[in-house]
Point group: C2
Chain length 350, copies 2
């Protein structure tokens, strides 16, 4: 394979973020070297700690700098729940969501797979192997809303979910493409169109229209409440799920739980138009309670690095990381390993 | 106990609704008779079938008539998913949600309990016994939204979640009261305040304020995504959950699934100010695929009748129905029984 370069931005973040990111980089570096890929890294100090030191969430200059990179490897951000020095949600909204929205990460890709030997909380999980294509740039996440007469008995608070044909169509088409590339070729739209009728009809009509372009893909529909039932009674029924930003947030955490926990759940915030770098991050948060103790499982971060390679066109290297992770995960016997021991083992298995 | 009268409205509805309602009435009639309660019934033909015959969802005169009753026993409504004669969601919105909103059912009470011997999809469910107090009259369910340029590439669709201090405070206080009456005295607020900041802050502030009135109740907070994880990894942690209309819809279906299915999940749509009749219904839908075949489990409908008695002040009769259900459910051995056989058995166990 010919030599290529990846100009990588790294945002380790807070809590366990730096620890798991270090292992993801360890594996990424080795996989890249084996393929003759030159990995250039620029590390960015961002997150709750950085906010406490500087009062900055995501300065404009930093965002512009990030835009010039090929991809972003993201650890986790967020303060300890009890930390009252940091306004609630500010890091999530002004850093994480701001990156997703500014860099137009319209495909929030979250694969769920139950590895052989991994314990599921379900008694009979079956063969779980699906992906959720969560819309990442609109819906109830747009921050459109307000408060009138805050703190009085007459307070009114609103949240506006914004949904556009542009935004829905591109993510639905992406989901159909992915379904078309998978053996089962099945797509499930998850929404709540019987109640959220305006947004729901847009999603439903769009799925019906885009389905015409993919005659081999079958599709069905589930209300989000019914989808959570199937997630615990028959998760094997799912192949590709496409859904909005909020429903996707909810069902991917549930999906991570039924496949053995968020220590294994990877994600990509992907700009499929490639007008800005995509960002890859474990689904888990910064887990301040176990930070700095080498207790965190870096597997989700490592699998996120594989998604990164895949997105940049290095499918071979991505498959190798995934195979090494599979080998490691399937051999786990419950013995306690440090974060870096897990990273070492997966790197060695490459 | 002195003789009393219940002036009951009955809306059997569609699909399995009439079958399960018949069993709920069978048990309710027997329980009432034993306590010297006179049960007067008025049956209303409403639902998808009625819409097909008349084009009516909920005529104003019917709604006014319902207002004069003491309580409503509701079966299930809704057309078969494939039935294109009925505009999608119209029965849900213009009948079911219209009743909840018009009659100010601000407490949507949904208990979840894992009965001994009932199979949970979870490998180690633990002792599950919690209630969800779902807000029932506002949030994303208000039907406030719209569509601009429908069907064009420039379509924009909005959904507005409306939240008021009045609406949030009354349901939060109700949830604290219920928590205060339970042995564990623990309340969990479920929301997504790091993203839905306007509504989320109103909910959080309200919980903090109302908590002052209940010094014995401890409370915590979970984002809705994290709540779904705990629902499958540690559902025993929950005692009373208070949440908004949409999050409540999602987590109560999930809760029903982990406690053995929606065949057992009862609910009350309760107007705690008693300015209008409350309405009691199984969480399940009309299940047109098994309608008329005596296959439906009427237990959820029967438990809903117990909630009805409880709300009307007949706690003794309610407890007797619950005890009869517990006895029946715990004795189930997997043998197939018809809907009416289950009703007969529970009535006999009273
Ligand atoms: C931290 C939070 C804003 C975020 C989200 O809601 O998208 C997280 O839960 C996730 O799923 O990546
Ligand atoms: C039928 C539908 C409108 C309803 C809801 O979303 O509230 C149902 O799912 C429920 O939970 O009672």
């Amino acid at each position: 394979m010919s030599a290529s370069t990846i100009d990588l931005a790294v945002i380790p973040g807070d809590g366990i973020g730096p620890e798991v990111t270090a292992e993801a980089l360890k594996v990424l570096e080795k996989a890249a070297a084996a393929e003759g890929i030159v990995l250039r890294q620029t590390h960015y100090k961002l997150g709750a700690e950085h906010w406490l030191e500087t009062g900055e969430t995501l300065p404009a200059a930093t965002l512009e700098d990030l835009r010039t990179r090929d991809a972003i490897l993201f650890g986790a951000v967020g303060a300890a729940p009890g930390d009252t020095r940091i306004p609630s949600g500010i890091i999530e909204r002004e850093l994480l969501l701001k990156l997703r929205f500014s860099l137009d990460h319209f495909v929030n890709l979250r694969p769920s797979r139950l590895y052989a030997g991994v314990g599921s909380p379900l008694a009979n999980p079956g063969e779980i192997d699906f992906i959720v294509v969560r819309e990442g740039t609109e819906g109830p996440y747009v921050g459109n809303g307000g408060t009138l007469r805050a703190g009085t008995p007459h307070e009114v608070a609103t949240e506006v979910s914004l949904n556009t044909a542009h935004g829905v169509e591109r993510v639905v088409r992406d989901a159909f493409r992915r379904a078309n590339d998978r053996p089962r070729k099945k797509l499930t739209l998850v929404h709540k169109h019987n109640v959220l009728v305006f947004a729901g009809q847009l999603w439903k009509r769009t799925v019906e229209a885009v389905a015409q372009e993919f005659p081999e893909v079958t599709h069905d529909y589930l209300h989000v409440d019914a989808a959570t039932i199937f997630m615990v009674t028959d998760p094997a029924r799912f192949d590709v799920i496409v859904t909005d930003n909020l429903f996707g947030d909810i069902i991917t955490d549930l999906a991570a739980a039924v496949t053995g926990g968020i220590g294994l759940a990877a994600s990509g915030n992907i700009n499929m138009d490639r007008t800005a770098p995509s960002m890859f991050e474990p689904v888990h948060g910064s887990a301040p309670d176990i930070a700095g103790q080498q207790k965190a499982d870096p597997t989700a971060a490592i699998l996120s690095a594989a998604l990164l390679l895949d997105h940049l066109g290095f499918a071979g290297a991505a498959r190798k990381i995934e195979a090494a992770v599979t080998a490691d995960v399937e051999a786990r016997d419950g013995a306690v390993r440090t974060t870096s021991e897990v990273g070492d083992a997966i790197a060695a298995a490459l």
